[in-house]
């Protein structure tokens, strides 16, 4: 009776042990809004507007403008095969937004990048990089070409484990 009980406990604990190895505590999702994104080029600094709900080009901007945002992330879980990023925003009047996520090793080596272009009025785009391009020590960033004349709002980026 006693040994059966101990066996059951051992099995339950074994299952718990396996599950905890599946997703360690350090792997977590992170949502980051876009107000911190910066103009890529000095001459465009006054053509990028930061709002509480995102970033867009100035009304007087006659062409698309580049911005780059840091993407804080936590290392992938041990058994993960890829990492994903949701990029959210709006396009107005048929405008188009292009974005890509880049991953750099801490040494500065470009590990990989992935991109999308969309004209959807409200976009929620999923980008994925394989685990080989998202090392434990890798840094990630988001670069976007925002439509001219304030015709697009980049809301933010969420790292998904």
């Amino acid at each position: 009776m006693s040994s059966r009980f101990v066996s059951v406990i051992a099995i339950v604990c074994g299952v718990v042990l396996c599950r905890s190895a599946e997703r360690p505590a350090f792997a977590t999702d992170i949502n980051k809004a876009a107000p911190q994104c910066q103009a890529d080029f000095p001459e465009a600094m006054d053509l990028i507007m930061h709002e509480n709900n995102g970033v867009h080009t100035a009304p007087q901007s006659t062409s698309f403008q580049w911005v780059t945002c840091s993407i804080p992330r936590s290392p992938l879980a041990a058994n993960a095969t890829s990492g994903s990023f949701y990029v959210d925003g709006d396009n107005l009047g048929g405008a188009s937004t292009t974005c890509w996520v880049s991953s750099y090793d801490y040494t500065g080596v470009l590990l990989g990048s992935t991109s999308f272009t969309t004209s959807l009025p409200h976009y929620d785009m999923l980008l994925t990089l394989p685990v080989a391009q998202l090392g434990v020590w890798a840094y990630t960033s988001l670069t976007c070409a925002l439509p001219a004349n304030a015709n697009g709002l980049l809301r933010g980026v969420t790292v998904v484990q």
Partner: protein
């Protein structure tokens, strides 16, 4: 012998179980320095970024800035999300007024909370660091929500937003 073996595994399993409860995923907090805050809505060349955070330049007027507040959305969250915002008060009596916003990923406004960062008394010796803890109910912090914060930083280099910590 076999029973001893099973007991040993039970002990190891129990320890693993305990450890998994001690450090659950919801323990994650995110500390963000406020050095990336940007002028809100219009170009403002009076806003400066320094090692201490974001504020105004010497001889510059008060300005409004916006800061991203990175957060980790986690299951099993408590009834509210807590944020701690800090400021470096350079000039006695200076203060910073802020509003923390939450927007769904669709752009829908979910909620906000306003607060002021100031020293306990205007005569407090400066410079000094002050902190304020604020919270939003979990209903205003959906899993995919983005949080940001706007602050009015006073003129003449007199106070800086330094960092924000999100805990959910």
């Amino acid at each position: 012998m076999q029973i001893r073996h099973i007991r040993l595994w039970a002990l190891i399993g129990a320890l693993a179980l305990s450890a998994s409860f001690v450090a659950p995923a919801q323990a994650d907090s995110i500390n963000a320095a406020a050095t990336e805050c940007q002028p809100l809505s219009v170009p403002q060349h009076n806003v400066v970024h320094s090692w201490v955070g974001t504020g105004t330049d010497v001889n510059a007027p008060a300005s409004v800035i916006s800061c991203a507040v990175p957060r980790s959305p986690l299951s099993g969250a408590p009834g509210q999300g807590t944020f701690e915002v800090s400021a470096w008060i350079v000039t006695a009596g200076a203060s910073i007024s802020c509003t923390l916003y939450s927007y769904d990923y669709t752009g829908l406004f979910l909620g906000s909370v306003s607060f002021t960062l100031a020293t306990a008394t205007p005569t407090t010796q400066t410079p000094t660091m002050v902190s304020q803890q604020v919270s939003l109910p979990v209903t205003q912090l959906g899993y995919w929500a983005y949080t940001s914060m706007s602050c009015i930083v006073p003129a003449n280099d007199s106070a800086f937003v330094t960092y924000v910590v999100s805990t959910l």
